[in-house]
Every structure is written in C-alpha cells, then in structure tokens.
C-alpha cells in the first residue's frame, strides 16, 4: 500500500500542473493572510493539516498524508473558495451534480466510490467537505473534520 501511494504521488508530482484533492496541496494566493500547518496523529498514522485563511474571510483546509497527497479538504466561510483548486480533478463531479439540482440550491452531495463531496449553507455562510474514502488514514473520522 505504501509503495502504491508513493507511486501515485510520484505520478502526481511529475505531472506538476494540477493540485487539490487526490494530488499535491493547492496553490493559494500569496496574500492569503495566514497559512498554517500542523501535524496530527491518529494512533498508528499521522497527517498534516494545511490551513489557509483567504482574504474573502473563508477558511480552507487540506489534509495531507505522508506521501504528500491531499486525502480530504474542507471549506467554511462567507464566500466560496476556488473549489477547482481545492477539489482538483474531483471538481467536475461537483459541477455535474450542481447542474442537476433543479430548484435546490442549499445542499449538494456527491457520493462517489472514489470521492465524497458535500456542500451546504446559505449566502453569508457556506460549509463544505470532501474526501477520498480509499485514502483516509486509519482512525481518521470524516465526521470530526473541523
């Protein structure tokens, strides 16, 4: 498993141009006020949380495993972040679901086998989480994501 992850990560990095969920952390504006990272341990595994407070007031977080791959992301705040940067190749799945919502504009859920994406909220207060079920470190609880 470890070598497979490393291989995937190497492929990601050699590609170089894309980022986000399932790849390397995204590129966020340099003026983003506070970029902080912290290492979290969950029993046998550990991961890194990279946090950006955007100028819009919205907080984005990327959860990065030991190979450098983002396995989960979250956003919370008054305005939507650059979700393509945050979700990477999985942005298209959210967009496809978004086109299929009819008159429903306050809740979106993608329950894919490769990625789960949930977005909710209202003008002035948006919340979202996305994760790769097969890439979660042991003991990582998606329900407890901040």
């Amino acid at each position: 498993m470890k070598s497979l992850l490393a291989a995937v990560a190497a492929g990601v990095f050699s590609g170089g141009s894309w980022a986000g969920l399932g790849a390397a952390p995204g590129h966020w504006p340099a003026q983003a006020a506070a970029a902080r990272s912290a290492t979290v341990s969950t029993g046998s595994s550990s991961f890194t949380v990279v946090q950006h407070q955007l100028d819009s007031g919205t907080l984005v977080q990327e959860f990065v495993d030991g190979s450098g791959m983002v396995f989960a992301v979250s956003w919370s705040g008054p305005f939507l972040p650059d979700l393509k940067e945050l979700l990477g190749v999985h942005f298209d799945a959210m967009a496809a679901q978004g086109r299929n919502q009819g008159a429903q504009h306050s809740r979106l859920a993608v329950q894919g086998s490769d990625a789960v994406i949930v977005s909710t909220g209202h003008m002035g207060g948006f919340e979202g989480r996305a994760w790769l079920p097969s890439r979660l470190p042991p003991g990582f609880d998606v329900r407890a994501m901040p």
Binding site: F91, G98, R99, S106, T120, M123, G124, E127
Partner: protein, 416 residues
C-alpha cells in the same frame, strides 16, 4: 409524544390496524404540536389544518401580503418548493412582466430571474465607477449563477422596490457571454429554470455581498464587463443586488412566511403567505414568537439526539429538513422510515435562547406525488442542520434583516 415515537420505532409494531391507528394518532399529535407552537402575532394557521379539508384558495394579494403556492413547479417535479409571482417593470414605466413560479428563498438575498421570463423587457444594466457593465457571479452551496446586474422596478403585492438591482442569470447579452474563469472555478451554473423562473432571496442580508465587495474583490462576486472581457471589481452597496424588501418605502425590515399545517401523506398543493415587514402592520406583529439571534455566519445551534450542530439555519428553499442521523434509512437522498417518525430537536440562539421543535419524517414513496410533505434527508456534514420547508408547515416564521429595528430588538434574527 415520546410514547408515540417509541411505539413507532418498535420493530414489532406495524400491523395494518396498528399502522392506521398510529397514523390517526400522528395526525392528532401533529395538530396538537402545531396548535401549541402557533401563537405568532400574525395569526397561526393551525386552526386551518384538518387532515381531510379541501385545499383553500390562495389568500388575496393585498398591500403587504404576497400569496405563496407550493405546487409541482414549472417542470411538474417540484416537491416542497414555495413559489410566488413577482412583477418586474422597466424603471419608471408600466411596461412590466409578471413572472410566476419564483422560488421564495430565505437562504439567499436578492431577486434572480431567467431571461426567458422577461422577454421584450429592456432593463438598464448597472454600471461600475469606470463605466463598465456589471456582471455577477452569485454564490450558492450548489454552484454559482453568472449573469448581469440590471435595474428594475420590482412590485411585490402592493410594495415597490423601484430601481432595484436584480440579477439576470445567464444573460444572453454578448457582454456576459464568457463566464470569468474565477467564477467558473466556484461551481457549475445553477438551474434557475429547472422547476422555477427565478429566486426571490428574502434572507437576512440587505445586499447579497455587502461591505466586503465595497472594499475588496476577494469575494469574487462582482465584475466589470466590456467587449474585451470581465474583470473583478469592487462595487458600492447601492449597485449590489438587493434584497428587494430592503428597498420598500415601508415594511422594509424583514418578512414573515406563513404556511398551513400539512397532514401525513402530504397535499397536492399548499397555499400560504409572504408578508412584508415586521411589527409594521397588524398582520406582521411578532407577538409571542420567540426570537433566535444568529452568529456572524448567520447560524444558530441545533441539538438533536445529544449531538450539537453549530451551523444551523432555516431555509424555505430547501425541500426537506437536512441533518445527519446514521440510524435512519436513506432512499434516493431522503430518509425513508417504514412508518412516519416524530423527532425532536432543540434550537439555541446565539444569545442562548432555546426552544424545542418537534417534526415529522415520512418517506418519499409514501407521499406519492404530493407537492408538500414532511420530508427529511441526510445533509452529510457533522455540524450543519438545515431546517427546510417542512419546518414552515403550520408556522409563521419571521426573518429580520441585518440592521432591522423591531419590537424585540435589532436584526438579524429568526423568530417563530
């Protein structure tokens, strides 16, 4: 009520006679619950709620009352979507269009319409300080609405929002043909035309962005558009898309939505009222309604089965009550209990005021083709609780806008 709930959850419960008895008990329990939580000064609809009564005619349109109809929508597939008709006119003229099936949305702010609803109407585009045509990338949890910002005289019942900046989503004007890259990166274009002709956002904000867009382009909402393309701009409040209620000469501090109770099994249509103003007329008094102030993000807290949801909000534009309960079965995105459940939660305001809410959950298949029914679904997030349209059944819910002055203090707040 707790006895009833326990009985319904018992795996040995359902026999057909028992199920019918329970259904009757539920209808009675629902009536009792509704009559006990009515009380808002603008008149509880509880007395009108009888399980078998015919659908009442829509209330008449008058000064500050706009009729709401919950029906199957323009595509025949809507469930729990409250619609109103709005009149949109070229500024200063009587050249108007009546746009039916506009979604009443307490989770957004501003009037957004599809171009097809305004055929033949010429609305002037709002311009930036530099003289560019203003476009907007309005944000929703499910995506964005790209379009122009234009001025219109908006007539809602007897109220007037003259010269109101409104959004024309997917405006066919060539100036707005290309979606700015930063806008497209927030999501897909939402479908204003799927089931509805637009959205009437009557939430807590007077403008859909506010001061953040006056001083910064970071929110990514407003653009100045010229033939060469659109670039992000700052925009004064007066040019931002407005919650039209805030522009009324009177009755401009908020709204109340009143819907009658809904029996088990749902109803084919439902008629209610969107009332403008709070404590400004005899029909919009807060009375005994409890005020729930919100935090800086516009949320309060809901506690359900011992779990605390800190991002809780009330949304007439959500067609179900959305929250997470892993113990409930899910079918096609909605909870589908074998028999109706009565559940309970406690809302806590940002200032610590609490109130219990009992609500019913039925399965979508059991309500057939009803336009209004007690539906709930999984929101998929651990800290969010979305009180969708079923919360409004049998209630009057007030939305006091930011800065509003009322008999029970300043907005923003919910009251019910």
């Amino acid at each position: 009520m707790s006895f009833l709930t326990a009985s319904l959850r018992s795996p040995s419960a359902p026999s057909s006679l028992l199920a019918r008895t329970l259904a009757l008990l539920f209808a009675i329990a629902a009536l009792l619950a509704l009559s006990s939580c009515g009380g808002g000064g603008s008149g509880s609809p509880a007395a009108d709620m009888t399980a078998a009564s015919p659908v009442p005619p829509p209330p008449p349109e008058s000064g500050n009352v706009l009729p709401i109809t919950v029906d199957r929508g323009t595509n025949g597939a809507s469930v729990n979507v409250p619609f109103v008709s709005v009149v949109v006119c070229e500024p200063g003229t009587d050249n108007c269009r009546t746009v039916d099936h506009v979604l009443v949305d307490t989770a957004s702010d501003g009037l957004r319409l599809t171009p097809s609803a305004l055929a033949g109407l010429s609305l002037p585009v709002v311009t930036s300080a530099a003289g560019a045509a203003v476009g907007e990338c309005a944000q929703f949890a499910t995506g964005r609405a790209w379009g122009s910002v234009r001025r219109a005289d908006v007539r809602l019942a007897g109220e007037r929002a003259n010269g109101a900046p409104v959004q024309i989503a997917a405006d066919p004007d060539a100036l707005f043909a290309a979606v700015p890259d930063a806008c497209s990166r927030t999501g897909a274009q939402i479908s204003l035309g799927a089931g509805s002709n637009g959205i009437l956002g009557v939430g807590m904000l007077t403008r859909d962005c506010g001061s953040a867009c006056v001083s910064s382009t970071a929110p990514g909402l407003y653009y100045g558009c010229a033939p060469a393309g659109c670039t992000a701009i700052t925009l004064p409040l007066a040019s931002q898309v407005a919650n039209p209620v805030s522009l009324f000469a009177a009755d401009n501090n908020g709204i109340a939505i009143t819907l009658p109770g809904v029996p088990l099994g749902g109803v084919p249509t439902l008629s209610g009222s969107l009332v403008f103003g709070i404590d400004t007329q005899a029909n919009n008094q807060l009375g005994l309604a409890t005020v729930f102030k919100v935090n800086g993000a516009g949320n309060f807290t809901t506690t359900y089965k011992g779990q605390t949801f800190t991002s809780s909000f009330i949304d007439s534009g959500s067609n179900a009550i959305f929250f997470s309960d892993a113990s409930l079965p899910v079918c096609s995105g909605f909870y589908c209990p074998a028999t109706p459940l009565t559940l309970s939660a406690v809302n806590t305001s940002a200032t610590g005021v609490t109130g219990t809410v009992d609500f019913i959950v039925e399965s979508l298949p059991s309500v057939g083709s009803a336009a209004a029914a007690h539906l709930a679904g999984d929101i998929g997030l651990a800290r969010s609780f979305d009180w969708g349209l079923p919360f409004f059944f049998g209630r009057t819910v007030f939305v006091a806008m930011a800065g509003a002055s009322t008999s029970k203090g300043a907005g923003p707040f919910w009251a019910y």
